[in-house]
């Protein structure tokens, strides 16, 4: 139970407002204004260099009638859902495992963390070489199932993307779960043990329900993370093959900075924001009231 700092000290605390100014100014300049700006830009036409001209709803009409948009939304949805399914159960399982007190588990946790240190660019480049159908690990070891054109076929490429996201991020989420599991009162397990509940029963009746808030935190990070996956896919597949991995964020980049249609790209970016906000709201709802009040803080 954190000790709440009660605002009893009204004498001096009222004058603290200016302390937020540096953070506020830079945040407004490079996050809030761009957020408003992208909305404004979606009603313009701009090639990235020349003049910006207002063109009303033209960009929106073009984006909303382009079959590329539903496709990019679908691919993004797939990445979000599949990587959640791949990561959550395994992260909880690993979290339970490393929260045990044996020394070797702590050592493992240290090693599990390594993938997080690598940049998405480094990971993608390494996996590209590792999965090469001619010179990668599969042909080198003569393993048939590993010798496939991993990045040349749509479903396989999607599988690789999901795998690499999981490879890099499961360690992070299992650490979050480990922390939460350690905070579950031991007495709950003792009581369950006296009542004759086995390990599996204890897991489903105590551990999982107690992890509810953590699951929401972890899922939010996971979903926002997969929604904005860019570097990984950009370096790994450039959205290919045949746009099979062209997620929304990449679609926006290619439209804006490759096809030089910033108006269209801004409209896609607005859609990205809306999807993100809707998902974040949904997850907050799942968390219920207590969670909200905790997040709102002081």
């Amino acid at each position: 139970m954190p000790v709440k700092a009660t605002p009893a000290a009204h004498t001096s605390t009222g004058r603290l407002g200016w302390l937020v100014l540096p953070a506020l100014l830079i945040f407004v300049a490079f996050a809030v204004i761009p957020l408003i700006g992208v909305f404004v830009l979606s009603f313009t036409s701009w090639d990235g260099i020349g003049a910006i001209s207002f063109t009303g709803l033209t960009s929106w009409k073009a984006v909303l009638t382009d079959p590329g948009l539903p496709h990019a939304l679908w691919v993004t949805f797939l990445v979000i859902v599949l990587s959640w399914i791949a990561q959550t159960p395994l992260s909880i399982l690993l979290g339970v495992f490393i929260s045990g007190s044996q020394r070797y588990r702590a050592v493992l946790a240290v090693l599990f963390f390594l993938p997080l240190l690598l940049s998405a660019a480094a990971v993608s480049i390494a996996y590209k070489a590792l999965l090469d159908p001619n010179f990668g690990l599969g042909p080198g070891l003569n393993l048939g199932f590993l010798t496939q054109d991993w990045l040349g076929r749509g479903t396989l490429a999607m599988g690789v993307v999901i795998f690499i996201i999981a490879w890099q991020w499961i360690p992070f989420h299992s650490l979050i779960y480990q922390g939460a599991i350690r905070q579950i009162p031991v007495s709950m397990y003792e009581a369950a043990q006296i009542d004759g509940a086995g390990r599996v029963r204890q897991f489903f009746s105590i551990t999982l329900p107690q992890l509810k808030n953590t699951m929401i935190t972890s899922s939010t990070l996971m979903i926002v993370g997969s929604l904005t996956t860019f570097d990984l896919i950009f370096v790994l597949t450039q959205g290919g093959p045949n746009d099979a991995t062209r997620v929304l964020a990449l679609d926006m980049y290619l439209t804006g900075f490759r096809a030089n249609q910033m108006g269209l790209a801004s409209a896609i970016a607005v859609i990205l924001v809306v999807v993100g906000l809707v998902l974040a709201q949904l997850l907050q709802r799942l968390g219920g009231k207590e969670r909200n009040s905790q997040l709102e803080g002081a």
């Binding site: 302390l19 480094a122 002081a298």
Partner: protein, 293 residues
């Protein structure tokens, strides 16, 4: 007490624990998966490292999981000769230049939000919390426009300023959680001693929040160090490349020389790995505490 605490989740060491059978079964499942995951994590990393010491010729001919019979440093030499140190310096400037100010101003904001009162601070806090949901990708076009129009295109400052902005929401959230845990009595005691809020912030809250400060510094530092999108969009000069971008262009240039590409992967990861070895205890404990609150 200590041994009791360990009982329910790792019971195997406790003699005569009543549910020993079930304990072992679960340990077996978790253990098997834990070790399997270790393999999944380490095999690619091991492969990257050993391959980076192979010659191009032996890369095509030998078992990929066996180290080179005659390891070579040629690949590393090639990468280092290709301006690696410049890219490294750029990465250090951007990472330190963004992380340190971001954490300091976020700490000031967190302190004010926890210790202060009033609508203004509540509104700012709400704005920062909303900021958690703003994806950098979605704002990149206006950021590009701002950077171009202010003449900052092709400068390291162009990478630093947006990086600070996007580090603020999460940093404020985590630091505020920790400042909130400082007992009010300590603040009262400082006030009794005649300390100003400014002094209280740096002499009381700052040291007491240290674990969280270290954690967010490492976390944001890692994010910025590995950042790819901002450098890709806000610079196009070779001498301003940061490591992830250099890696990507290097891969384009040397796509036939896989060992050299992997040596560049190792080199870009090495500095961060060294930091991890030094600060991992702090990072791991800080992360578990910071995110599970």
């Amino acid at each position: 007490m200590a041994t009791q605490t360990a009982t329910p989740r790792s019971g195997s060491r406790v003699a005569g624990a009543p549910k020993n059978g079930t304990t072992e079964r679960r340990n077996w499942l978790g253990g098997a998966f834990g070790w399997l995951w270790l393999l999944i994590v380490l095999v690619p990393i091991y492969w990257i490292v050993i391959t980076s010491f192979k010659t191009s010729a032996s890369y095509f001919g030998t078992n990929p999981l066996l180290p080179a019979s005659t390891p070579t440093l040629e690949n590393y030499k090639l990468v280092l000769e290709n301006d690696f140190l410049r890219y490294f310096a750029n990465s250090v400037i951007v990472t330190v230049g963004a992380t340190v100010p971001a954490v300091l101003i976020s700490f000031m904001a967190a302190f004010a939000i926890v210790r202060g009162a009033g609508r203004w601070l509540k509104a700012v806090n709400a704005l920062f919390l909303m900021g958690l949901a703003i994806p950098l990708q979605a704002t990149i076009i206006p950021i590009y426009l701002i950077i171009i129009r202010t003449g900052m295109y092709n400068s390291l400052g162009a990478l630093i300023l947006p990086s600070i902005a996007f580090a603020i929401p999460l940093t404020v959230l985590i630091l505020a959680n920790f400042v909130r845990d400082v007992p009010n009595e300590l603040f009262e005691a400082m006030r009794m001693d005649g300390s100003s809020e400014w002094g209280t912030m740096w002499r009381l809250a700052f040291p007491l929040t240290r674990p969280a400060l270290v954690t967010v510094t490492i976390y944001q530092g890692l994010q910025i160090w590995n950042g790819f999108l901002l450098p890709l969009i806000l610079t196009d000069r070779a001498d301003l490349r940061v490591l992830p971008l250099a890696l990507w262009t290097f891969q384009g240039q040397y796509s036939v020389n896989i060992p050299a590409v992997l040596a560049s992967v190792v080199l870009t990861t090495l500095p961060i790995l060294a930091l991890y070895v030094v600060g991992r205890r702090q990072l791991l404990s800080g992360l578990t505490a910071g995110f599970s609150k």
